[in-house]
Amino acid sequence: MKRAILSCNGLDKPEGSVAREVAIRTAEAIESEIICPVLLNRAPARYKKILSGSSLIVVDGCSTRCATKLATGLGAKVERKVMVSDSVKASGKPLESTLRLQPDGLTLAQSIVDELVHNLNAPAAAPEPVAEFEAPTEYLFVTHDKFEFRIPVVDYAFNENDVWARVLDGVARVGISDYMQQKLTDISYFDPPKVETAVDQFGELGSVESAKAVFEIVSPVSGTVVGVNPAVIENPGLINEDPYGSGWLVEIKVTDFAQDQALLLDGAAYADVVKRKAAEE
C-alpha cells in the first residue's frame, strides 16, 4: 500500500514547526505525498483518492492531536504515528518558544525522521503468539443505560484500570476490557510496547487510541514482553470487535503471577468496579 503523510500544520507552537519539518523530511526520504491538514479539513474531496489508496503516517505536534483527529474523523488507515511533544520531553530539552525552527528543533526533527524511516523500512518483528487460548464462553453482564458490558466469568484477571490478563504456561496475554473499548469507541491505533522490554505490574504497556482518547495500557502483571498482536497492529478495530479474544494486545512472560494476583480482581469483583465507574459517568 502507498503511504501519505498527514501532519500538524505547524503554525501554533514550536512543536508544530518541528512536526512540519518532520513531515517534509519524511516525504523526501520515503518519496510520499504530503496532505495539507487545512485543505483536508476544508475540502476533503481533494484528497479522496490518496486517502482511499494509502496508509497514513500521522505527525502530531502536541496533544491536541489535530492531525490524528482529522485522520480518524475521515476513517483513514493510520500506519504509524509521531508525537513531537513526546519526543521533546524524551530529549529533556524544551524547544525555544519561537515558530522559526532553531538548530535544536532541526536536530530533533532529523532524529525523529531517522527513527521513523528506520521503523518503516524494518517493521518491528511481530513474533508469533506464544499461547493458545480458547475464547471465553461464559460472561457476566453489567448494564448501564443502553450499554451492556461483558466480563468473562473465569480465567481472566483484571486491574482497576480496565486491563485484563489471562495466564497460560507462564505467559500472560493482555488486553483491554469490553467496558473500556466501548468507552473509547472506534480504536484507530495501537502503539505497542517494545518486545523484550521488562515491565513492572502497573507499568506502561503502550497505548491504544481513538478519536476520543489515548488510553495508556496499565500492565496487570510484571514480566517481559514476548509478543505483540500483529493482527491488532494491522487492524485495531479488532479490539472493539473481540476485546477478550482476537483483540488481545500483548504477551508477557510473567515473573511472579501469584504475587501479581494479590492486586488483581476476578471477573465478579471487576464487574462491581465497572458498575461503579459506569454509574459515576
Binding site: 496533544s63 491536541t64 492531536r65 484500570n161 502497573f202 489515548v214 488510553f215 495508556e216 496499565v218 459515576e280
Partner: protein
C-alpha cells in the same frame, strides 16, 4: 465517595490527580470535556478551571494530560504511588 477504594485502599489516601500549571493552561477545556469523572470544574475569575474533585480521578489514569495541547497537566510519580499503595495495604493487613 468515602467508600471508594483502589486496590483495597481508601481512595482519599492515594494522592493521584492532575495538577494544572496555570502558566501554561489556556483554558481550552479539552480536559474537562474529556474527563467523564468530573475531576475538573469551571469557575469564574482568573482560574477558569480547577481540580475540584481530585478523588474522582481514576488512579493511574493520565488520559486528560494526553488531551492537553499546552502540556499544562502533570501527575505524580507512578512508582512512588504504587509503593505507597503497597505500604498502606501491608499496614492494613498487619492489623
Amino acid at each position: 465517595m468515602a467508600e471508594t477504594t483502589f486496590m483495597g485502599v481508601p481512595r482519599e489516601k492515594i494522592p493521584w490527580f492532575p495538577t494544572i500549571d496555570y502558566d501554561k493552561c489556556t483554558f481550552c477545556m479539552e480536559c474537562d470535556v474529556f474527563c467523564p469523572h468530573h475531576v475538573f470544574e469551571r469557575r469564574e475569575g482568573d482560574r477558569k478551571l480547577v481540580v475540584a474533585n481530585p478523588n474522582n480521578c481514576v488512579v493511574f489514569c493520565r488520559a486528560c494530560a494526553k488531551t492537553c495541547g499546552p502540556d499544562a497537566l502533570s501527575f505524580p510519580n507512578k512508582p512512588e504511588i504504587i509503593a505507597l499503595i503497597k505500604q498502606i495495604r501491608e499496614k492494613e493487613s498487619a492489623k
